[in-house]
C-alpha cells in the first residue's frame, strides 16, 4: 500500500515536473541555442511539410524517459521505472494536445467545447503569433494562465 503511494507519487512528480522542464527548455533552448531546429515550427502552416525539423525534439525529449524505463526494468528499480513512465506519459499527452489537437497534424480530435481546451488553443495561438525567435510568450503547454480561460469563455458568448 505504502509502495503504491510512493510510486504513484513519483509518477505524478515526473509528469508535472515535465511541465516545468518543457516550459524552461522551450523558452530558453528551443527559442535559444536550438532555434535552428525549432524555427520551421513557427513557419506558416502552408510552408510546412508533414515532418518538421522540430520533430527532432521528439527524439531528444524521449531519451531521458527511455533511459529511465530501460534502467528501471533492467536493474529492477521501480523508482526509475515510474519516473520514466511519468515523463513518457507527459510526452504522449503533449503530443496529443500539441500536435494532434492544436496543430491538427491528424484530422481527429477537432472540436471541443471544454473551456480548458479552448483556453489552451488560445494560449498556443498567442505563442505562434510571434514568428521570430525573440519576444515570445506562452511557452508552457498543459498549464494555461487564467486570462486565456476568460478570453476563451468570452468569445463563446
Amino acid at each position: 500500500m505504502i509502495n503504491a503511494i510512493i510510486y504513484t507519487g513519483l509518477f505524478l512528480v515526473a509528469f508535472f515536473g515535465m511541465e516545468f522542464i518543457a516550459w524552461i527548455t522551450h523558452k530558453y533552448l528551443m527559442h535559444g541555442a536550438l532555434w535552428f531546429l525549432h524555427e520551421d515550427h513557427h513557419l506558416h502552416p502552408k510552408d510546412q511539410g508533414f515532418f518538421q525539423k522540430n520533430d527532432y525534439f521528439f527524439l531528444i525529449f524521449a531519451t531521458p524517459g527511455i533511459l529511465l524505463i530501460f534502467s528501471g526494468i533492467t536493474f529492477e528499480m521501480k523508482t526509475l521505472l515510474f519516473l520514466g513512465l511519468g515523463i513518457t506519459f507527459y510526452g504522449f499527452t503533449y503530443f496529443l494536445v500539441h500536435d494532434v489537437f492544436i496543430h491538427q497534424r491528424f484530422r481527429i480530435l477537432k472540436k471541443s467545447d471544454k473551456s480548458y481546451f479552448r483556453a489552451i488553443r488560445k494560449a498556443h495561438k498567442v505563442h505562434h503569433k510571434h514568428l521570430g525567435k525573440e519576444d515570445g510568450e506562452c511557452f508552457g503547454m498543459l498549464w494555461v494562465p487564467k486570462k486565456y480561460y476568460r478570453e476563451a469563455n468570452n468569445n463563446i458568448r
Binding site: 529511465l68 536493474f75 528499480m77 523508482t79 526509475l80
Partner: protein
Amino acid sequence: MKYSYLIIDLGAILVPFIFSFHPNIKFNKTWKAFWLAAIITAIPFILWDMVFTKLGVWGFNSIYITGIHFFNLPIEELLFFICIPYACIFTWIWLQNLITRERFKGIEPFITVLLVSFLLMGAVFFYPRLYTSLTFSALALVILFFKYILKVDWLGQFYFTYLILLIPFTIVNGLLTGTGLESPIVWYDNTQNMSIRLFTIPVEDIFYGMLLIMLNVFLYEFFKNKIKIEDH
C-alpha cells in the same frame, strides 16, 4: 563514527557559507540562482547515483552514515550534491573577482580539444567499465554541447577554477575514499573503473566532479543573468 560523512558535507560548506556575506563576494544576493542550479543538476546525478549504488559500482559504508535513507541513497549523499556545488560556486565567484574571464580565452580551445579527445578515447578504451565510460562520455558530450551549441564564454575561466578546486577536492574525496580512516566511507568496485587511484581517489572522480560543477556553473550563470534581467 556514524556522523563522519555528515561532518564532511557540513565541513565543506562551513567556511564558504561564512564568507558568503563578505562585501566582495555577496553570494547571498544570488542564492536563488544557486538553488535552482543545484537542484536541477542534482536530479540526474541522484538518479545516476541510485543506479550505480544498486549495481555495486560504488557503495556506502554503514558505520560512517546516520542510516537515514532516500530510496537506496544515504541522506548524506544527497546533501553532497548541494554542499559541494555550494562550496565550488562560492570559489567560482571569488576567483572571478581576482582574474578576468578574458585571461584564459587563448588557451581554452587547446585544453578543450585535448580534454575531449582524452575523454572519448578513455570512454571507448575502458568500455564496459561503467564508471569510466559513462563519466568520460557524459563529460565530453557536455563540453562539446557547451562550446559548439550554447557557445558559452566562460570555459577557460572554468578550467582554471577547477584546477584550483582540485586542492579541496583532494581533501574531501580523499577522506571519503578512506585516506586517514580505517575503511572508506564510499567504496568503489575497481572492476568498474580504471583502478588507477590518486592516493585513495579513483581518477574518474576528478571528471565526475568536473561534470557536476560545470553543470552547476552553467545553470548558476544562466539563472543569475535571467533573474538580473527580470529585476530591471
